[in-house]
């Protein structure tokens, strides 16, 4: 009896192994994304908002892959896979955020050193120190206008013939941010200093540019961002902001969700505080500009009409 049982267990384990290898093989076959054959520059955006910037400036001359694209994943906990490694090893230009937000990119790059590859770390080129507490730089309205000329110059180094094309695209991109600037100005002039609560610092740079006053303690935001428990004291402060209706708007990061944040969402709804869901990465069917305009207008509508916009997709 014992013998049979053991034999069966062994067979079961082997079968389990066969099933696993069977499932594994299709993912292991190489997919698209190798070196381009059409003479286009291959580029990688570590986050799809940077990928979007590269493709708006590079246009027809550049083929862009973005690593973090899924709006249902928390980028802070993301780990690279083999497909990402292939994109990185083939890339001539890489734009990544830095400040620890996408440190897996550094590992991928050092694992496949390529001569002449240009790596733009946004935090470094824009002068943010390594201890900058809030890494979500693309939410700062000044980031992309400063980054666009840098990306255009780097693309020109890789393909000097398209020099003027890249520069035109860059200045066109900067002009196209005008509606966003106006949307920010509108919030700033109509609701100066309006109190808001957030779950996580993702949109903090934008909220500050809008002149809004973030009442959530920084330690609470940092705890949610880093995936550790906020202290009960900070949870009490945050809950009271909502329960006593001390804030006019609750900004909810859809890509950093845990038991604490979902309980806060319930409290905000119960107290009729308008909720705006914000994202770490660009949601599907948006460009960088339309994404930022949509979220900024959602802040405005929440403050003006008490209307919520919880999801973007």
């Amino acid at each position: 009896m014992q013998r049979w049982r053991n034999a069966l267990f062994g067979v079961g384990l082997s079968l389990f192994g066969v099933v696993l290898t069977g499932c594994g093989s299709p993912a292991g076959t190489p997919a698209a994304g190798g070196p381009s054959t059409s003479g286009m520059i291959t580029a990688v955006g570590a986050e799809n908002e940077y990928g979007n910037l590269i493709s708006q400036i590079g246009g027809k001359a550049v083929s862009v892959q973005s690593i973090m694209t899924n709006p249902n994943v928390d980028p802070h906990t993301y780990e690279a896979d083999t497909a990402n490694a292939r994109f990185v090893s083939a890339a001539q230009l890489i734009v990544q955020n830095g400040i620890g937000y996408d440190s897996f990119m550094n590992h991928l790059e050092s694992a496949s050193p390529v001569k002449g590859r240009i790596v733009v770390t946004v935090a470094n080129v824009l002068g943010y120190g390594p201890n900058t507490p809030n890494p979500h730089l693309w939410y700062n309205p000044s980031t992309m206008p400063r980054l666009a000329p840098i990306v255009a110059a780097d693309l020109s180094k890789l393909d000097p013939q398209e020099h003027t094309y890249f520069e035109q695209n860059a200045s066109h991109f900067i002009q196209s941010l005008q509606p966003w600037t106006q949307a920010v100005q509108r919030v700033h002039s109509e609701f100066p200093g309006a109190p808001v609560a957030v779950t996580e610092p993702v949109a903090d740079y934008l909220l500050q540019a809008c002149g809004l006053s973030i009442r959530t303690p920084w330690a609470f935001q940092a705890a949610i961002m880093n995936g550790v428990d906020p202290s009960p004291q900070d949870v009490a402060v945050e809950e009271n902001l909502l329960k006593q209706r001390q804030v006019k708007l609750f900004v909810y990061n859809q890509q950093a969700v845990d038991a604490t944040t979902s309980s806060l969402l319930g409290i905000a709804r119960a107290n009729h505080i308008p909720v705006v869901g914000v994202y770490e990465t660009m949601p599907p069917d948006y460009s960088y500009q339309s994404w930022m305009v949509t979220e900024t207008n959602a802040f405005y509508n929440a403050l003006k009409n008490h209307s919520s916009m919880v999801t973007l997709h």
Binding site: T77, N226, D229, S231, V235, A236
Partner: protein, 289 residues
């Protein structure tokens, strides 16, 4: 009363998180301590620890499909516990089978945790599963957690006599007609409930702290089993309350405004009380085992 106000930081009893933590923590402490006395007497500390670890597989799976971690912990523990019981008919094989099942389950855990980082927007799941988060336990879980504690304690009470007999001497129990395997399986279920509840509070890695620590201290200092269980429960309660209080107070310690993890304090208090109890002389006559 002035010193008392300094001892406990302001807002302690008003905080909903603290109230939920105190209620659930107390239930977990009592259950773990009572079950833990039998775990030590039966020499099953390794199995107890393994049950906590394999719970992490279930909890990671629960996070993937979006259900409460406690149900994942329980499923993981029950599946692995039953597997160990079925695969190790002779008690000498138990350590080895436990090791094999533990490895298999932890391998799955690695896969699930990787998948979580790729497909879900949940944050800090790994930290929560491995090291617990008593302040973030959903308040709707109070009733189910109390229910689980009651079931575990009821199971122990239900099989108390035969369990005690088969723990002291397997041969005697068998000769008196005790269905030893059934008793051992029921005890395994009670142990799984205690360990997995504790895993939700303390984390999968530390779930055995409350199971082993207070019971070990109590066994050293009491002779009658009833007193042992009472003392273990008392120690576990004191330990949990102190841990929660210190974690709440640590908000004001460096780095100010963060708060240290509860599981760190509970384990520290547990270890300190164990060491302290080693220094106190044992009662003269040894307990009969």
């Amino acid at each position: 009363m002035h010193w008392f106000q300094h001892l406990i930081a302001p807002g302690f009893f008003q905080s909903t998180e603290v109230q939920v933590a105190l209620i659930i923590g107390s239930a977990v402490a009592i259950t773990s301590a009572v079950v833990g006395v039998f775990v030590i007497l039966r020499g099953q500390a390794f199995l107890g620890h393994a049950l906590g670890d394999v719970g992490s597989t279930g909890a990671a799976g629960a996070a993937l499909v979006g259900i409460q971690a406690i149900w994942g912990f329980l499923t993981g523990g029950l599946v692995a516990g039953t597997a160990v019981d079925i695969l190790s008919r002779r008690s000498r094989e138990r350590e080895v089978t436990t090791g094999v099942v533990l490895s298999a389950m932890l391998g799955l855990s690695a896969l699930f945790i990787y998948l979580i980082t790729q497909v879900s927007s949940t944050t800090g799941v790994t930290q929560e599963i491995l090291f617990g988060s008593i302040f973030a336990v959903n308040r709707h879980l109070v009733v189910p957690m109390m229910g689980l504690s009651c079931v575990a304690l009821f199971l122990i009470a239900f099989i108390y006599r035969p369990l005690l007999l088969s723990t002291i001497s397997l041969e005697t129990a068998q000769s008196r007609g005790v269905r030893v395997r059934l008793v051992s399986l029921i005890f395994l279920f009670a142990m799984t409930m205690a360990v997995e509840q504790s895993a939700l509070v303390m984390g999968a890695l530390l779930s055995t702290a409350l199971l082993i620590g207070p019971a070990a201290t109590a066994i050293r200092h009491t002779r009658r089993l009833g007193y042992t269980m009472l003392m273990a429960a008392g120690l576990a309660l004191l330990d949990t309350w102190l841990g929660i209080m210190l974690a709440y107070n640590s908000f004001y310690w460096p780095p100010t405004g963060r708060g240290w993890p509860v599981s760190f304090f509970i384990v520290t208090v547990m270890v300190l009380s164990y060491i302290l109890s080693q220094l106190i002389p044992q009662p003269q006559s040894k307990r009969a085992q």
